[in-house]
Symmetry: D2
Subunit: 438 residues, 4 copies
């Protein structure tokens, strides 16, 4: 007879700090962070996780905690989890690890979340030059729905997903990451097109022992020091998956992750009740603690079979994802467009980031006409189930990006309307009960 | 009693050249191109259009015509159409013109299309350095479905839409366009981040009398000369809509276009049977001739009410779109991810264009494992209903973009699979008729 | 090189009578009605058809034509079409004929339709005892949308489909039909549970030469007389498909029809712009003329492979259908329930027809609270894309049936509402721009 | 600051019997069963419930427990719950109680369910004469998915819903129920059309003290005796909602229930992980224990405003339901049709129950061609997310009903197929890498 329910492999007590959890969390990527649990393929397991800040950002309505957030500690992850096949043989480098998301959600008794913008001097966000100050909205969950006293008139079902899911990098891959990101930070602004706009955001977040939590590695040991100096930050998504922030990775999805170390060493965290494409405000999803019920499969030699390196080494790959039929479906969308001309009127060449920025700004300004402050709109577009599309990327010199918002999340009709009496079939209720000719 | 059916305001004879049509076409944006038809709000009208090349690209299976395509002539548009309200008063600058797409499709008897890549030296495409040669695939339509003898094993319903729909610019707006695009072309590559990759593509396409067709403006007159020298090319999408290539602008959509000249002077063309987000191969949709049934509404002062300038003048705006419930819905998607690290392994900073490029390359390489050539996969991803998303735009230094392909368009199962006998519930057909315990 | 577009195998001139068409129509099922066209498998062909009444019901707003409709002439069908395989061998009895609906729609220039109720004494409808009089609503089409001056405030995209598609019966099957329907008519009311309610509707419609049109069979000949006396009426759906009125058989669907005679002899007609499940008012869809683009495939011996007789002979089978992804998708539905207790309060035993009747009556009464007359609501529920479900069929003594209406088809919000000021998150616009705590 | 999470108003210990629960359950409808909890409008509350059998049907793979099931005890309900407005004033007769289903699912640690058929002599089912024996399939849940070792090759996401949700009847309404159901039982078979087929199923289930559980009413008291003799069984759905088995009442739905007694006295139970329309095998959903998170609203005088009596008294009404956007969406369906001719070949008159029966039998026989036993197929169609439609109810003498099965739930392709090499665009993989003409 089969087992009933899932086996809990990582459980979380949200009243405790990240370093006080029974299985200590980690906030860096490194091959030498030891696994904390083992799972077999086909087994349904439950992984619980703290919110990305490990409880640092709280339920208070003040944004003080965001303003002073210590970004060196993000993101607290659960794991690593070592994956074995039916015969007890671990996943091996070169395999693909298929992770099915069978279920996920907030932790019972902790059904709330927050969306925030960091201060420009402390992390910023996509529109930090327009919105330089720390802000925060608290969201409450009513089952699958979220609402916020700070952004009234909106309520939507969450397309809940883990912001971060990834495998441990090998030392070789870790070195590639550190090297290429160091170059960006060092070469800095002169090579960057967006310099005027984004200058106050960090270009990269290089390894630092500051704020480092390394799971079962004992702090103060030489090993801890070495790992802390080498281990990659969790902020960017990379070859191992990681912080990919793909908002549709919800119930019924499947993630094919490359395996770089024996056992795969899967980690996950940064649970989002909901997120808009782009997660524009940076702390932009509805961040929460949560659980994930997942099932693993190993595809032996899957990297060679299914992935193609996109760079100088066989490690330059990306995961693949499958999105299933189980998500909220909206019928009607209001779509905002941006082209790669920036707010100063300057033309950029096929730059989708500039185009998307303009699309988001257009949407914010539009929503401001319906009673929202721009700050509210910015937070809302970060976390509601809106879609960010690259619509055109070839029509020189303009990239076209679009942001589509499901109209059903608002309690008012936000579509443009003529103030005149409508003409045509719907010409007015007075004629509704029109005479039937008999 | 209401009218039955639509009034044809522009009709096309696909056997004739663009300049031989009863109502001559135009391939430039300029306020002084006279309108060829008038429509009233609420009226259902039918606009027919040639394919973007005006018949220059033909039904032959050879790609010679693509190789030698004259890009100075694109895109042939139908219109301009002058729009009046119920009282006969035209749309005025500052209004919004709402255009509902009631129906659209190929012209009867001309149910075919093509997807192509231009030569690197003649326009190129998003991946021109990977695919420098001209290629072409012919598509045949079976009602709402398209299939191609050149890309076997794929068949999909078209999300048919006009690639171009826009209003005429005012002189002031036209001057802004010409000035900013001239700057890009002049400042050229040194300011461009993507220079290594894209150097063979034109940076902008400035006005040129070469290939110019100006509708009712008589060729050879001083007026023609002046307009031809000033008129903007139709390649990029801009403030007036234009070549926005938004693939979901299909049946039941509504487009809110800013009005810059009296009468609005709506033009449309570049009909696509289907297109993927990004239209990556540039000549990348399934290009065809077609018809559009549309209905206009004027929202007086709508620009002020609903749009916010995103630049130094009130003209720096973008249209808004509404997407309706009438489109093919796919349940399952296979998703490819790209991060802003290029093929050389170099890190770019939050660059969605680089990330999307890598996502597309990943998808092409993946499909090549299923029996397609990379050229076939590139064309397919240009024109099938795939979605290009900006998934993460804040996690320095990596932007994350994704490309999602509906799995149902293939006649084989393209998902990654373990070669082992499956474990678990579906463990094999031999056990299907398992004993029921009674 | 493949063919472009479809080959027209039956074309219709809507200005002519059914018997004046180039290829004469037929309104009976009989194996000896000769085929009027031949098609090969894989070929895309176009079949045009008159509306079911052959133009008898007109565009006038008066319902006089409905009141006096001659029901002995329904439904005028196009065909029969003989189907051959690639080698020219016809479909044979025992095969399955797979018909893919590639496209369909109204005829150009005839974009209107009607929904009606017959007089109680002349055909009636599902609710004829509640609505005994002839009524009619004219619908106009704006591309994929329909609206009616007689039912204002409603507009919806059509899920267009042929009401009738079927193969010719063999003589053996025809005899079975005639015999079993004669028994119902003769045994009459005493065996019928619904007698009180439905007494004025005909129990069956047996063969009659009156109104008979038999295609290429020459009128006045002995053969005509014989066929006319034997041929089955087209009103009920039967083993050959026929008038199955399945509203989702729209673009992209596939129909697997059993073959009873050599060549299959496919006929189709009774085009519906839109219909609600049940087609409750009987003349209840939006009836129109139209075209069908279809493609055939023959599955040899498919009846044995895929169908199982559901009665005393191998002919007691039913077709199978495939519904594809291309249809309007509505997000929100208002659902009305009925149980098998009739309007007099009498309990029926697990009777889904009684339950559905009550669900429809509930919905009509509900819509009447929003400004519609009950006659308008009855017509609307006949033709809009509402879903009729058998929700529970086992909970003695009550069957539960439901009728679900997509709320988006109305220009007002038809959901029940509390008149009180709402409480909770959406508590009012005055608080929308609530203070962000910083 | 708002509350986090839901307040538990009924909690269940699945290891205890129904009568041992802290808040005792009830299995009858009666106005005098006292409420066990109070909730306010707007409050998010959690109600837990046992499976309908109160644990009587177990996790064993044998069907013995089904064979000997005591049907006098079904269904164990949680409640009644008294509903108050913000001012503490209870819901009153004549109001509508709007219940939003915010979330629901299995109980943690009890993630399994069962689908069964009762013995013909002990309750039977829709097809009891075809399937007279007790059978049972156990289902395991992997998050939102269910699979069964007894029906291999199938896995699907659950559209989880409460089979029963209803308000307490008034004495007047209860008397109406008892009277009309008594008449059916007494008049018996002679008035029933389906007599030959269904004779072994009970016609109604009249009140009986046998198996009666009445919540807080003390057993053995005269009050208990009186209520037990009067209280209605919970098997049929009725005016108060009750066992309506509407499979789409899942997350995000809203139910508008008439209020017949002060406080509304809401009860719920019979949780279904998944169910097919009709719940054909009677014990036919995936039955489980579970929880419901709900929120109430009172619409004062809502019965008068929104409901219309469908019978001799103002109490003859039915609830209204709203279905939201959050459910699994399937793209492709295989549809089986039935007409109102029974298995003996006898014609019935517009009888949707007979037509649906034939559609279900057709589907069972079809699935049997793919390796399933008919018993497996019968259980599967009872519990998978298939749709039962009344497609045509007016085309005398045949009602047409359809059963649509989402093809994606199977791990094999169940569509009919020609065994020949396909012709046309997808003609074979050998041509996939066809030459691109350059």
């Amino acid at each position: 007879m089969a087992c009933v329910g899932s086996r809990v492999v990582v459980d979380i007590d949200v009243k405790k700090k990240p370093w006080e959890q029974k299985l200590k969390l980690h906030n860096r990527w490194h091959p030498h962070i030891p696994s904390v649990a083992e799972v077999s393929v086909g087994e349904l397991v439950r992984v619980e996780m703290m919110d990305f800040s490990g409880g640092g950002i709280t339920h208070t309505y003040s944004a003080e905690d965001i303003k002073n957030a210590n970004l060196s500690i993000v993101h607290y992850l659960s794991g690593p989890i070592r994956v074995l096949d039916e015969g007890g043989i671990p996943a091996m480098p070169g395999d693909l690890l298929a992770v099915e998301i069978c279920n996920l959600g907030p932790l019972l008794g902790d059904e709330w979340g927050y969306t925030a913008t960091f201060d420009r001097e402390n992390g910023g966000g996509f529109l930090t030059d327009h919105f330089p100050c720390a802000t925060k909205a608290i969201w409450y969950f009513e089952g699958i729905y979220a609402y916020s006293p700070h952004i009234p008139g909106v309520r939507f079902p969450g397309l809940t997903h883990p912001g971060i899911i990834g495998t441990a990098p090998s030392m070789e891959l870790l070195n590639i990451w550190n090297e290429r990101e160091r170059q960006v930070e060092e070469n800095g602004l002169q090579t960057l097109k967006l310099c005027e706009v984004l200058h106050s955001r960090p270009l990269a977040n290089l390894p630092t022992p500051r704020g480092c939590l390394l799971g079962m590695v004992k702090e103060g040991t030489p090993e801890w020091e070495k790992i802390a100096r080498e281990a990659a930050r969790t902020i960017p998504g990379r070859e191992n998956g990681g912080n990919c922030d793909i908002k549709n990775l919800s119930r019924g999805s499947k993630i094919y992750l490359p395996v770089f170390v024996e056992g795969a060493n899967l980690s996950t965290g940064d649970m989002h009740f909901s997120q808009g494409d782009g997660e524009v405000s940076f702390c932009g999803a509805i961040e929460m603690s949560g659980f994930l019920e997942l099932k693993c499969e190993i595809i032996r030699d899957g990297m060679k079979k299914y992935l193609t390196p996109m760079g100088p080494t066989p490690l330059h790959v990306n995961p693949i994802f499958e999105i299933g039929p189980v998500e909220p479906r909206f019928s009607e969308w209001l779509v905002f467009e941006g082209i790669s001309v920036d707010e100063s009127g300057r033309q950029h060449y096929l730059d989708a980031s500039v185009a998307y920025k303009r699309a988001v700004l257009n949407a914010i300004d539009y929503l401001a006409k319906f009673g929202y402050s721009k700050e509210q709109a910015y937070l809302l577009l970060s976390c509601c189930p809106c879609e960010g599309r690259i619509s055109g990327i070839v029509d020189s010199p303009n990239a076209v990006a679009t942001l589509a918002i499901p109209t059903a999340i608002f309690d008012q009709d936000i579509r443009p309307k003529s103030s005149k009496v409508p003409v045509g079939p719907n010409a007015g209720e007075e004629t509704r009960r029109s005479e039937m000719h008999l």
